[in-house]
């Protein structure tokens, strides 16, 4: 696959997100769209996984600590072949396996049920510790929101990851700068993110989270870094790919209406 292919997959994932959230009538499009390129890189290149054998021994694991971005994980799993894309169109409906926030009992490929912020990264630290204990080569990846960094548990987990030198753990921060109530810096300042993680014993890489070359090379660096966990601080745009959603806090947790969804899908080059 070349860069064009990855971009196309990311666009398709964005289309799936928009359609699913529109059909659900509620959900979190903004932070799902901002993470689409990162999840494309993880599920289509970086991670050692097998959609036909989701519980493969020694696999890499991904935990969506920012669980409200469930649609991007569902879409990435669907496009990767874990289940048909149509399945996720029942998102948030009564009886659906596609819960508002991911549930590991219900959907193949979901490693951890998340939704309450800060907990996914803490559980990831435990998974990385277990792999060390078992001399299991599998790596653990976790995506956090930038607003999520306001949770104290994130830093308890980071301190432990540094202490136990978990070089099999890679944290990615989806740094889109916005949270429900507005700019991070207006709500509670989270910066400097890179310095914070460095001081907790992390190898830190700051990248453009929509540039595949930079994403791939950051994952290479994380994999090759020994004795330290890595934090990839990915600068992103909330709502990326849909002009009227980009960098708008208002699209954090709002579903597009039909005309809006059609416009979004058309901008993304998808079919309605």
């Amino acid at each position: 696959m070349d860069l064009k292919d990855y971009k196309q997959i990311a666009s398709q994932i964005r289309v799936d997100i928009v359609k699913a959230v529109h059909k659900a009538g509620s959900g979190h499009p903004g932070g799902s769209l901002s993470a689409a390129d990162i999840l494309t890189a993880l599920y289509f290149k970086e991670m050692n996984i097998d959609p036909k054998n989701p519980n493969m021994e020694g696999r890499d694991k991904f935990v969506l600590s920012k669980g409200h971005a469930g649609p991007v994980q569902y879409a990435a799993l669907a496009e990767r072949g874990y289940f048909p894309v149509e399945d996720m169109m029942s998102l948030r409906k009564l009886g659906s396996n596609f819960q508002g926030h991911p549930n590991r009992d219900k959907v193949a490929g979901i490693e951890m049920s998340t939704g309450s912020l800060g907990q996914g990264v803490s559980v990831s630290v435990g998974m990385a510790l277990a792999n060390k204990l078992d001399k299991n080569e599998g790596r653990v990846y976790t995506l956090l929101g930038d607003g999520e960094l306001q949770e104290g548990l994130v830093w308890e987990a980071a301190m432990a990851a540094g202490h136990y030198a978990l070089d099999n753990l890679c944290i990615i921060v989806d740094w889109n700068g916005l949270q429900i109530d507005g700019n991070n810096e207006d709500v509670i300042t989270v910066t400097p993110i890179d310095e914070k993680f460095k001081s907790f014993g992390f190898n830190v890489v700051v990248i453009d989270g929509h540039n595949f070359d930079e994403i791939f090379s950051a994952f290479d660096e994380a994999r090759n870094c020994k004795g330290k966990p890595t934090a990839i601080i990915a600068k992103t745009h909330k709502g990326c790919g849909v002009s009227f959603m980009e960098d708008q806090a208002g699209w954090h947790g709002k579903a597009p209406k039909e005309d809006e969804a059609m416009k979004a899908v058309s901008e993304l080059g998808g079919e309605w």
Binding site: S122, V125, A130, E156, A160
Partner: protein
Amino acid sequence: MTDIKEKMATRQAYGQALVEIGKENPNLVVMDADLSKSTMTADFGKAYPDRFFNMGIAEQNLYGTACGLALSGKVVCASTFAMFAAGRAFEIIRNSIGYTHANVKVCATHAGITVGEDGASHQTFEDIALMRTIPGMTVVNPSDGASAKALLKQVIDMNGPAYVRLGRAAVPTFYDEEAVKNVKLGKGNLVREGQDVTVIATGIMVNEAMMAAEELKATGIDVRVIDIHTIKPLDEEIIIKAATETGLVVTAEEHSVIGGLGSAVAEVLSQNLPVKMAMVGQKDTFGESGKPEELKEKYGMTARDICKAVKGLLGK
């Protein structure tokens, strides 16, 4: 039952049992939050350093990481004081451990008033109430060292989350080798026959109930005593049978009367066989510093308080 030979804190039994179980079960991982010498997990740490993780004073992360290890195939006993486990880390235990049915045993020590001198900030009376509201959570409160060991083994053999409540203070060991065989997870244990009133007790209050029963015998009152070491799932059968046969029920726990054993028993009886009940436990108030025995007396959790409750129900 036997004549009481020795005293032992349930946390001490826990520490010993971990080392024993760790020997035969290489899958057992033990974690702590900077209290390993108090929770008694330190001995396991010494015996099996590779399988022991100190997470520092960070209880939320203690239970989050315990969940990650459990979802990776380990059985995890993660310990701190009850206040910081059931209290501080409640939502992590609920959302990460409970929601995923992770094989984590929340082994919380220093529960209840017998923490003593540390005072109200450390005296947990809410943990049973909090833990039993989590779907699928097994809740265990052993009454002495011998049953604590027996129950811990059964809790580790069972797959899924459990809360094990342990105490700081040394308490009389009254289960002997033979009697402890009747201590079965999920089953109430009839420890004394009686026909007039049933005292349903849990944890260290079982011993108080036995003393109360002995005292009441002298006044001609025949008291049945049941050890409810497993508060969830609750042995409804033994409770309904006792209510049917004795007609009056007193509950006794070293925990708030709001939401604990008393409430659990009332939930069963009110829907099956309403009988007159009295609840012995911490009233709706915080504790304070003092010696465990002084505090038990001041806050109404002794054999004498059980006697009073029994007599009250009998109108004597």
